[in-house]
Each structure stands twice: as C-alpha cells, then as structure tokens.
C-alpha cells in the first residue's frame, strides 16, 4: 500500500498540468431559478434570476445566474476527468482520502441563460507532509478556471483540499 509521501511525489509531478476538462450543456433558465431558490429559501428568489422583463431594466440587461451557480450539475456535454484528480483516488489507504478545506472564487463575466461553460483545473501547490488531527496529511491547492462560449473568463476558483 502506498504511503502519503508517494502521493505527494505524484501530485507534485502534476503541478501546472491541466486536468478535469468539462463542458456544460447550455445553461437553462430553470436551473438558474432552482439555484436561486435552493440558496435563498425560505425567502423567495430574487427577480433578477427569473423575471426577464425585470432583469432587462437592471445593469445586467437580462437574467444572469447568481454568483456561485454551478452549471455542471446534472450531466455535462463532455467529461474527460483525467490527470491529477484521479491520482491516488483509485487506491485506498494513506493519502487517498480527502476533505474540502475551503477555497476562494473570483467572479468575472456573469453566466447567462444558454451559455456553455468549460472548466479546466490544475494543481498549483502541494504542501510538505503535515501532521493533522487525521494523521499524516498534505494540503493541495488547485485552480479551476471557467470560460464561456465567447472565451471570456467566468470564474477562477482556488480550492484547498486536504489529503490524509
């Protein structure tokens, strides 16, 4: 069974290489509305997210998705989840269990109905071996970039995962 230092070596070898390409289906207005409801309930969703007539009069000039909207829920057009995201995940044991420790999203162009969003990720940093409450651990920082069909950057997410 591999130990965590092997997993660290494998992750470091992948720094900067792209993985996890995904392309969404065209974003549906109903999915935007569902997100707006699911993140704000029991308050009603904001009109900007479901009322086209209202949204046209805002600076956004039409319905947009709320910041944080996930266009990849419920099936994607293309999914080629290759590369470092699978490193270690196919085995069991030390270094192959993970938790989401947090992250930071920077939003650029808004997502609009009918947009097609493409996602690609890379590892940017792999920590040295640490000892946490869960035992030998390593922190991995990844960057996931979303672009729309016009090539505009939509969102850049720096995520921190912990493997143990």
């Amino acid at each position: 069974m591999p130990d965590i230092s092997e997993v660290i070596q494998e992750l470091r070898a992948q720094i900067g290489k792209e993985y996890g390409h995904r392309t969404s289906l065209p974003v549906d207005k109903s999915a935007i509305r569902l997100w707006a409801i699911g993140t704000r309930w029991p308050e009603p969703p904001k009109r900007l997210y479901w009322d086209e007539e209202y949204a046209r009069k805002t600076p956004w000039q039409g319905i947009i998705a709320p910041p944080g909207f996930n266009p990849f829920a419920y099936h994607v057009d293309e999914e080629r989840m290759q590369g470092p995201s699978t490193y270690g995940l196919l085995r069991t044991g030390e270094g192959n269990r993970g938790i989401n420790a947090g992250g930071e999203a920077t939003y650029h162009a808004p997502i609009r109905p009918s947009d097609v969003i493409t996602s690609v990720s890379k590892i940017v940093e792999v920590s040295d071996l640490k000892t946490t409450r869960l035992g030998p651990s390593v922190f991995v920082i990844t960057e996931t970039r979303w672009t729309n069909q016009k090539g505009e950057v939509v969102r850049v997410y720096r995520g921190m995962g912990m493997r143990y």
């Binding site: 569902l34 308050e43 900007l48 910041p67 996930n70 829920a73 920077t106």
Partner: protein, 145 residues
Amino acid sequence: MSNETVYWEDVPEGMEIPPFVRKTGLMEWNRFAAANEEHFEYHMDHVAGKAMGFPNAIGMGNLRFAYLNNLLEDWAGEQGRVKVVGCQYRGMNLEHDTLTCWGQVIRKFVENGEHLVELHIGVRNQKGEETAPGRGVVVLPSREA
C-alpha cells in the same frame, strides 16, 4: 434584504454589513442538494450522519459558501457586484444550527476603474463558533461614476 444602493464613498473601513441569517436543516439542505446535485446520504439521512459520528445529518460546505455569496450580493445590490468570495471550512453545520453570515469592511481601494471594498467574512453558528472564516471583495457603485 435591502434594496437601498450602497455607494463606495459612504462605506467606512471597519463597518459591519447587514448579516445574512438562516436556520438550517433537512429542508434547506435538500433544496440545495436539488440545485447543486449534491446528494450524499450524510446530507439527507440522519442515520448516515450518525454513522459518521454526528448527532444527525450534516449540512454542505457549498451551501455556506452560497450563503456568503448572498451576504455580499445583498449588500452590493444590483448596481454593484460580488467579485471575490472565499472561506475555509473549520466547523460543521449541524441540524437546526442558526448560521449568521457576517462581514466587516477592512479595506477600500480603486483598481482598473472599479471601486472595491474588501471584507472579512464568516459564518457563525448560534454558539458563536466561527465555522467558515474568509474574505470577500465587492464592487460598489461610485458617486463619481
């Protein structure tokens, strides 16, 4: 939710913004699961949550992240926008927790023509425990623009 426009010039450093508060449980988690396709048994089923050592099912980190988006979005209004949201997950969201998303202005600056405000943000539970400290940046309308 406030509909009053907040202008960049009127925001002092140190200011606390109006909180976004939610009591959470299966009703909130299941609705978010439906939006995010996040159907894990430990978010939906108390038996599965207990099997992991929690009192009941547990809430999603992604929902707290979405609440932080709401916090900043409600403050920035439709004339402004949320530019950055981030947090670290330090504690769990247990059933019936009342989560208070809070924000405090730490810096004002102008960059590439945008009037920006940086904030400390976080998600406190009803015991006052900080479960998701982080940082946000919003673009606000300017009286000069």
